[in-house]
């Protein structure tokens, strides 16, 4: 679900299957779209299905329980109810993965314009890829789209993720992405002497006020920031070339 240059039918089907599983497990945070050079290794919340293992040095009467990530381990008294064990295991996992709830936290910090509501399409038959468009489809589109924009918001507000050498992030001049005007690109950027796309201006800002290194056009951070900036100008008329 990471490289999306070509979204084939199989990838899409996979995405839907994955979402169904998440839904079946009672929802939960999806993986953060990778926005830094390093992968967010193992960011997906593991399910709580635990298996006990043979213990070597345990308090008498205790058993050691391993989470399905193969790493998170706790020791509980034998006879502890399963729900309590599951709760403790999850708490331990959350402690070791403090940013696992990154999406809700980022949404709380920085308001995001919601993606378009497609609920009017529920029940319609598209005739090609889908059978009937379901409520779950519509929810998936919105969640995934907003997730990419939210990842962009996280980069936009974080000097470290931007690679700033001077502690400057985009929001310091553009709160809520104000004054970014993505709807006016491409346009002839007089100061550059050529036609610029939004990403050219993002890179200009990264290189100058932010004093970092320009991002490749397909850098996940760039893609996410474009998503965020465009999201924040929802409802504006496209007017490419406007100064």
């Amino acid at each position: 679900m990471i490289k999306r240059d070509v979204i084939g039918k199989s990838a899409l089907a996979l995405a839907i299957a994955a979402a169904s599983i998440v839904a079946a497990c009672g929802g939960g945070q999806g993986a953060r779209p990778p926005t830094t050079a390093q992968q967010q290794g193992g960011a997906a919340t593991p399910s709580v299905g635990a298996r006990s293992v043979e213990a070597s040095a345990l308090a008498p009467g205790n058993v050691e329980v391993l989470l399905c990530d193969g790493k998170t381990k706790i020791s509980v008294a034998s006879g502890t109810p399963g729900t309590a064990i599951a709760g403790q295991l999850m708490a331990e996992w959350m402690r070791k993965n403090p940013s696992s709830n990154w999406e809700a936290e980022e949404r709380e910090r920085h308001t995001l314009q919601p993606a378009a509501d497609n609920s009017g399409l529920i029940g319609l038959i598209d005739g090609h890829t889908y059978g009937k468009i379901t409520a779950q489809d519509v929810a998936l589109w919105k969640t995934e789209t907003e997730r990419v924009a939210t990842a962009g918001s996280a980069v936009f507000h974080d000097a470290d993720q931007l690679g700033s050498t001077v502690g400057v992030s985009c929001d310091m001049c553009h709160p809520h992405a104000a004054n970014t005007h993505p709807e006016t690109y491409p346009k002839f950027q007089a100061q550059l002497g050529r036609v610029a796309l939004l990403r050219d201006m993002i890179n200009w800002c990264i290189e100058h006020p932010v004093r970092g290194k320009a991002l490749a056009s397909d850098d996940p951070r760039m893609r996410a920031m474009e998503a965020y900036i465009l999201a924040q100008r929802k409802g504006r008329t496209l007017e490419y070339g406007k100064h």
Binding site: E108, R109, H157, D171, C205
Partner: protein
């Protein structure tokens, strides 16, 4: 090979004092041809505004003749000028020298004012993340000012250690003083309700949260019951004719909540100030030219030395004439410092000394007439 010789002007890009003097003189004389007295005052005031705002008034400049002609105005204040510097957002110099250099530029601007201002008001947000070294760096730069300084606190100075270092360096954040007949009050308007304890935030996390203008986790700014009580006491017994000047970091009115261009108990503070004939509030935080008037209270924003903020998407006061759209390619465009000339009636001409632009004066007659007179020129490019 000899290169063609350049004039000193071309090399350093500035004109000598003599050249400037002669140019001003010539411009004034050109303007004087066939002018009646009224227009003459306009010309001279314009000439004055242009140089005064740029902070380059020399004793030999052609200063406003209007002062000489003016009737000894009724009022309580002996006319005076103060300068302001605001919102420098300093990191330690080793991390980011750009903001430190900008503050030094502002200090140079103010130091070159002639005559010197009576005092310099620092409008808050000296530091970016409230660090002791950030505040100390700022204090060190501000020590170079020739005129006495009055400090005001901003949220970026406060929420790491809840103002401990700031108070150690600069004293109490809430105080008042009388100056040439005006009563001046400095408030701490950035008090926020506790959002951090329940979230188990570290001081650093708390500071970072407040430092994000668009961070919705933080609370709204307030002056708070304690300070409002203090303000009532401070103003007690003062006749309503006393000109009152209030300095606050956030605007003491409700402009745009999401960015804390807002003081949550602004209505209560305004109620305390209501009984006075003329009140002028100067505030920082908004990093832009901003003008408002609510009843007897006239509000003026201050420029930042670090970066300009966009205009809020809603709530912009009718009286505000926007500054020109800053050009991101021109470093420090939209930034600057400035001054205010306080008149005998207690109202003030507010001068925005934009570093890359012509200075703009928002005159007291503009707010006094609710925009009917002396409207500042609209910028060619407004924000959208």
């Amino acid at each position: 090979m000899d290169r063609p010789k350049k004039t000193p002007e071309a090399i350093i890009g500035v004109k000598s004092i003599e050249t400037k003097h002669m140019e001003e003189r010539a411009a004034l004389h050109r303007g004087l041809v066939n002018l009646d007295r009224r227009s003459f005052l306009k010309v001279s005031a314009a000439a004055f505004g242009a140089v005064a705002g740029a902070g380059i008034v020399s004793p030999h400049s052609f200063q406003p003749v209007s002062v000489a002609h003016a009737q000894p105005a009724k009022g309580k204040v002996q006319q005076f000028r103060f300068a302001y510097i605001s919102d420098s957002h300093l990191y330690e110099r080793s991390l980011n020298d750009r903001f430190v250099n900008a503050l030094m530029r502002a200090v140079d601007d103010v130091n070159s004012m002639d005559p010197q201002p009576d005092f310099v008001l620092y409008g808050g947000d000296l530091a970016q993340l409230g660090g002791a070294k950030e505040l100390e760096t700022g204090a060190q730069v501000l020590r170079n000012l020739k005129a006495p300084i009055k400090m005001m606190v901003g949220e970026h100075d406060w929420f790491l250690d809840m103002g401990e270092k700031w108070r150690e360096l600069f004293g109490a954040p809430t105080y008042s003083f009388d100056h040439k007949g005006a009563h001046c009050v400095v408030l701490n308007s950035i008090i926020e309700a506790d959002f951090w304890t329940a979230r188990k935030m570290t001081p650093e996390q708390r500071m970072l949260t407040v430092a994000g203008l668009d961070n919705g986790v933080q609370s709204r700014f307030t002056v708070g019951a304690e300070q409002r009580k203090w303000l009532e006491n401070d103003l007690k017994g003062k006749p309503s004719t006393t000109p009152i000047i209030v300095f606050s970091h956030s605007p003491l009115y409700k402009l745009f909540r999401d960015w804390n261009f807002w003081t949550d108990d602004a209505d209560e503070v305004q109620a305390i100030l209501k009984r006075f004939d003329n009140v002028v509030v100067f505030h920082g935080h908004t990093h832009q030219m901003l003008t408002n008037r609510i009843g007897n209270i006239h509000f003026h924003g201050m420029l930042s030395t670090a970066w300009p903020w966009p205009y809020a998407p809603q709530g912009l006061p009718e009286l505000t004439v926007q500054m020109g759209r800053p050009d991101p390619f021109a470093p420090s465009d939209g930034c600057g410092d400035g001054s205010a000339l306080v008149h005998p009636d207690g109202l003030a001409d507010k001068i925005y000394n934009l570093w890359n632009r012509n200075p703009v004066t928002v005159s007291r007659t503009y707010t006094a007439t609710r925009g009917a007179k002396d409207k500042p020129a609209k910028p060619r490019l407004e924000s959208y």
